[in-house]
Symmetry: C2
Subunit: 418 residues, 2 copies
């Protein structure tokens, strides 16, 4: 099944909000064999919404929209679609009741009157329940079977409604035609895009055994994405397995997982298997490494805690970094990173300690230590391993790359200790 996607909102067209819904929807739909063939964005303008919907229905006959279903006056999707389909808007008392219950549960004495507009439903529309917010979704279909599914724009509500209501509905509608778009990602880190292509050599082109291959660089590393199109699911999975194995054989050292694998989760699992505990000592990343580790549910059996040693005084006093190391080598240096890792183990009381110190910029660089210079150290059961890098990017990117490189250093150190 082929559908189009229309994301609605001035904030999207003006660029004040990044459109995460488009990506999320594409992934979720691909899993049930539905392909997004075109994607458009318009502002909160009923005419522009109506024009875009009309064109999409003429081209593809199936459209999912996000946004414009909220309670405020800039939410125009409901009225634009009702007008386009020639349906009057009527108040749906069941929705009013649900809204009132929801607001009472949130501790409101009564529902704000502005939310009443969310109970207005175009005649003949199907209501898509929203268990995650106030805006119900809507499904409108014309006499020729062409349809529009309207989802809210708030990502959490959109995702909930998609899973609860729209995906089951589309799955029924799509039937079991069987042909899917299926992908597999191999996530690499610690190697650049060009070097990775060189390493893969003759199998690193635009296609591998008929599957398309894309290189997707980002702060987490370069993802290798294989995609099979328009083949039955079982056949696609087998082809992806074979091609992924080929790539893995050449680039094994740099691959930390498949698909949406998160390096923090990978590291936590390896530590868990060996009953090792982790402590962090962060300077330039200021807590990002701790945040990466604790973003993983259930991390508390491995990650105990950390010190954010942003000032040198905290490095000295709480991590026992010797003053002479700071004096002789500077805070951003291999021996200070090593001492921070050792200090994290000793202070927090863990088998593994990680130290990160660097110059995230934009200021603070020098010819010898330019912005992006980062030293990372990992102590595992007394043995220390260090890594020095000069990362490119802005402050945030340098910090993200530093936290990722620190996680990778734990992964590699544990791999070798195996």
């Amino acid at each position: 099944m082929r559908v189009e996607l229309l994301t609605i909102g001035d904030e999207l067209l003006l660029g004040y909000t990044i459109d995460t819904n488009a990506a999320y929807l594409a992934r979720a739909l691909a899993e049930i064999g539905i392909e997004i063939v075109q994607r458009e964005t318009v502002g909160d303008d009923p005419d522009a919404i109506a024009r875009a919907v009309r064109e999409a229905l003429d081209r593809t006959g199936a459209l999912i929209t996000t946004g414009g279903l909220g309670p405020t006056a800039d939410d125009r999707t409901r009225e634009a679609l009702a007008a386009l389909f020639g349906r009057v808007l009527r108040r749906d008392d069941a929705i009013v009741e649900l809204l009132e219950t929801r607001f009472r549960a949130l501790g409101y004495a009564s529902m704000p009157p502005s939310n009443l507009v969310q109970a207005m439903v175009p005649e003949g529309a199907r209501v898509l329940a929203n268990a995650h917010g106030t805006a119900p979704g809507l499904w409108l279909e014309d006499e020729r079977g062409r349809w529009v599914a309207m989802l809210p724009g708030v990502p959490r509500e959109m995702r909930g409604m998609l899973a609860d209501t729209l995906l089951p509905l589309l799955r029924t509608r799509a039937g079991d035609a069987g042909a899917v778009v299926a992908s597999r990602t191999l996530r690499t880190t610690g190697i650049g895009e060009s070097a990775l292509a060189e390493l893969l050599g003759d199998i690193g082109g635009a296609t591998v055994d008929g599957l398309s291959l894309a290189y997707l660089p980002g702060w987490a590393g370069v993802d290798l994405r294989l995609t099979a199109r328009n083949v039955p699911r079982m056949e696609a999975e087998r082809a992806l397995d074979r091609a992924a194995l080929k790539l893995s054989e050449r680039a094994a050292r740099y691959i930390y997982g498949d698909d949406t694998a998160d390096l923090a989760a990978v590291v936590l699992q390896r530590c868990r298997e060996r009953a090792l505990h982790v402590a962090t000592a962060e300077s330039c990343t200021g807590g990002m490494l701790g945040a990466r580790l604790t973003a993983v549910p259930g991390s508390s059996d491995v990650y105990v805690g950390g010190i954010i040693a942003y000032s040198n005084e905290i490095k000295l006093r709480m991590l026992n970094v010797p003053a002479e190391l700071l004096r002789e080598h500077g805070a951003v240096s291999e021996p200070v990173a090593a001492s921070m890792a050792a200090g994290a183990c000793a202070t927090i009381g863990t088998e593994i300690g990680v130290g990160i110190t660097g110059i995230a910029g934009p200021g603070g660089g020098s010819p010898e230590k330019p912005v992006g210079t980062v030293w990372i150290a990992v102590q595992v059961q007394g043995a220390i391993r260090t890594l020095g890098r000069v990362f490119v990017g802005d402050r945030e990117e340098i910090r993200q790359r530093s936290a990722q490189a620190a996680l990778d250093l734990i992964r590699r150190t544990l791999g070798e200790a195996r």
Copy 2:
């Protein structure tokens, strides 16, 4: 001037990468009075690229593309555009030289051969220099003055090239027509979308004095965005000032800044003005609050450091939280948050300490303390203030909202102490 935007990449259409370039370009272009009137996304398919470019040139005559200029075989923009414009690709020796210099500077013995393709330029194209990566941009124009500007897809490279080369070029081309799209955002936090609309009452509709008003909810709070369209810059700025003042008068208590204001930067500045220093003690946020504060360049004169007290043992030992508090009230409780804030001040040695403890989920909730329950405490020069909330959202959102609420509690506490 009106342009269209085409973002290119299988990873975008399949949803494996979130399109941040579209938003960034829209903002940067709006500032010089250029409006993006349509936005489309296609995969790495030369036919789809050529079709989309042809349509955009027919409609609008001006197009910016991102992506597909890399060194690997899935990068097809160069060849698709050369074919569409009927130009042959020729090797540009000046680019070869630049690439070789760049790779040597990165420590490579020689340039990977795959990068040679990036030196291929369609006949008659203008090369847009890339000081931030290997892929040069290209500008192609036909005999009717219709043009396409091709930028790389890697955000850092795209942004650099936009600022260095394309914006100056477009500014010259657009001339001084003067009519701009200008926006102003008032950033609120600690109040929901509906409640904010109620508070604003009659001035909270879709337009304020002819400017459009949008409510943009997110984990950081609800942004109020005013937009003026197609008026001269000075007039737009005056109208935005007037409308922003109207809104501010009603919602002052919840507004922490304008436009892209970051609450962490606001809090750091307020502390800096009073020579106050901050320390953090984080449990459920695991370092995110420290990461927020240290994301701001120059934060080191205010933020000293913190303890990530993920385990109770660290709360006891490093923050001196009394064991009986943990036993009687549980780790997620008002007294424990208060004790963590006090412990942060005492251990790190600062005038301000922040404690955060909560249940980020998905597990760990109970009827009395459901997932999302968070206690936050701020100690300022000995006086403690606490805040208990039950946040909605997934694990990451609950953590982000917690860090934001902690920053806002510092802001409000300092506001009152003034």
